[in-house]
Symmetry: C2
Subunit: 418 residues, 2 copies
């Protein structure tokens, strides 16, 4: 068994912060064995990180790997201008495997150095580049899902597929992806405006037949919602349109954003257990709005946090935690004062345990959970109160003041990343 | 003359980003002399920072030095609970000069290491601790204003003054503060609820007679605004109440927050040229709301950015820039879609030139401006686009992705801080 000694913090099933100061976190064969007050008997490999925080890794439920290159630039532009001027031209570069090699190398290096241990990532429409991305992520030791993107309408000529080609390429991609360790494929229609009914239908069949997870975008901003209404006059809602194609929880599903769902959609999401990838940085950057996270939770909808690079401008999931809290307070103030804001404990719960549950037993330190572990040295927090702060208070101060600094060790399913 | 070679970015008077790639920024006797395309003739001390960004220092127009110790903790609580449980007990510790020595030491060390070069800081009611803070800030080389706080009503017994004592201590503080270099005194009634009419009146006389600047809080949240209405039934508004005591622009004045001003107040602020210290992190953390920054600018009101530690949870002014932009986009979405959001260039303008103007010719690189300079190595930005990005695009990406990292050099009025 391996043991890490430190100040352990994780989230209970009901979103309370569990703190175990100066304790030992045990794991073997990639799984957590338990938390011990003192060194258990027997031969163990002990990593002494006394005074450091030991927390579960964070799950980023939605980000676009090919957009990382321009993260944090051109943020003054609105969604459509931004897509046409930057997103689509940049994504088209990935038909060149040489470019993908270089750019995905940078992306995977930076993601590996970050607090993220699990991910649900969009690639591009390009099969070979997407496979390359999966292999690079696999080699880094991080775990998660990557999707080859499908898009056959309302897209520029240089970044569009014919419907048959889109399906054929997806099948070829799935065959080749099967041998990649730790990084699985996820069916990824970009969003309804860029996928024909036929493409959506065939992707739904593929996901259902092969038992594959699904990811897409939902209700990001009001004009997009109107557009979907005009494209799918036969559907009750954006969610219903996905649902008619078996792309809404028939298999495990992540929908990014969901800033503007109506009541029926919320009911359907709760019924189908569709995960919301809440992306606060992106939703502010692109002027989308603030997602009703409290309503999701009250309706039994699983919610994780997401950077949504490059709508979001940073890979930092710690910053997503505090952004989610800040935005929930502004939503309380301006939109719905009957729904209380998120607490720090809740934001941590979404970033670790609830978001992690998309990947199995991930995001907590109970026996049998996968050993996704971050060790943080919080001694850069200069305060006279330091000695009196509980581990959870140190974690809160760390996330607000110095997010991402002082990362000492990172393990995914027991494998050391750094 | 000293010269720094690098990629120079600063804000023009009309808030455009001026970029001078691979150029020389010259300064001597604490003042900018100019920007040169090539090395000027003569004997010069040249700091070669080729490839680095060279930008003006940032001005933090509002923060509470004694609250730094708990920055980023207890952020789930609401304003009044938070003041009573944490703010007032912590501030009361500063009657002990030994505690102030330790705590202000940490604060000044961290502020000196940050991107902030100029500040307007609240101390506590304690004269000696406030003088100690001023001396420590002076020794650090940073420049700005510090206020001994005045409060004689609606405050806990352990943190309140009698009116006469408050004025006497303020006068004694002003006498002792006169000899401190680079850090000046600023008259600091905490806010109207904690200052009697008599105290406000006498502080207004003191500020006017001695030509001293003023700082306080204004229109932070709706219940506070209601409270001020009930305390000052004779005033037309919160702003008008300050104004009747000559504390609203009679001398240079900073008002923190101003999230909920009415139209008359905006007109008065524009007329009196009262600076708004816009504090986006704090206004979200304490669920206050989003200040109408565009309205301020359209009405000729000078606006700077502020961390408002510890309502704000970080000393990072770079993060205030991106928070201000994000919040302006959410305000556009939820409150007033006729007022366009802030651009990156505007946020940079507020953080450097417009906020800096409270301190004189500060925050730009035109001849005669004070030489407040930051040098940043942005090479941690991993992107294939790096070589093609202009200095301003690199600065934008830096502020969003890696705020506060890679600070190489910092000068205030030509004096090297690190």
């Amino acid at each position: 068994m391996q043991l890490i000694k430190g100040d352990i913090v994780y989230s209970s099933q009901d979103a309370r912060l569990i703190e175990r100061k100066d304790s030992y976190l045990g794991f073997e064969n990639g799984k957590i064995t338990g938390i011990y007050d003192s060194l258990p008997e027997g031969e163990h490999e002990v990593l002494d990180r006394t005074g450091c925080l030991v927390i579960p890794g964070l799950s980023d439920l939605h980000l676009h790997a090919p957009q990382y290159q321009y993260a944090g630039i051109y943020m003054d532009e609105e969604l459509l201008e931004w897509l046409e001027k930057h997103t689509f031209p940049e994504e088209s570069k990935y038909k060149d495997i040489g470019y993908a090699e270089k750019a995905y190398g940078m992306f995977v290096d930076d993601l590996a150095k970050s607090e993220t241990t699990r991910f649900a990532v969009f690639g591009t429409i390009h099969r070979k580049s997407t496979l390359l991305l999966m292999k690079k992520l696999s080699a880094s030791g991080l775990k998660g899902f990557v999707g080859k993107v499908n898009m056959d309408r309302n897209s520029p000529e240089y970044l569009i597929e014919k419907t048959d080609d889109s399906i054929d390429e997806t099948k070829a991609w799935l065959d080749e992806a099967a041998s990649i360790d730790g990084v699985g494929p996820i069916i990824t229609p970009r969003f309804i405006p860029s996928c024909s009914n036929e493409l959506l239908e065939r992707l739904g069949v593929l996901a259902t037949e092969r038992g594959l997870p699904v990811q897409s975008h939902l209700d990001e901003n009001p004009s997009e919602v109107e557009w979907v209404k005009s494209l799918c006059p036969w559907s009750r809602s954006y969610s219903d349109a996905y649902d008619r194609f078996s792309l809404f929880g028939t298999t495990p599903t992540i929908m990014a954003h969901s800033v503007w769902p109506d009541d029926d959609e919320i009911a359907l999401m709760g019924k189908r257990k569709v995960f919301v990838a809440h992306s606060p940085s992106s939703n502010a950057n692109l002027s989308s709005g603030i997602a009703p996270v409290r309503r999701f939770l009250d309706n039994g909808i699983p919610v994780g946090l997401a950077t949504d690079v490059a709508g979001g401008s940073t890979l930092s999931m710690f910053r997503m935690m505090t952004s989610a809290i800040e935005q929930s307070k502004l939503r309380w103030r301006y939109v719905d004062s009957s729904l209380r804001p998120l607490t720090f404990a809740e934001a941590f719960h979404l970033a670790t345990r609830m978001g992690g549950s998309f990947f199995g037993k991930v995001g907590a330190f109970e026996p049998g959970f996968e050993a996704d572990i971050l060790v943080i040295d919080p001694s850069m927090l200069h305060t006279t109160l330091y000695g009196d702060l509980s581990p959870a208070e140190r974690l809160e101060a760390y996330c607000y003041r110095k997010p991402g600094e002082g990362l000492m060790d990172k393990f995914v399913a027991g494998r050391r990343i750094f």
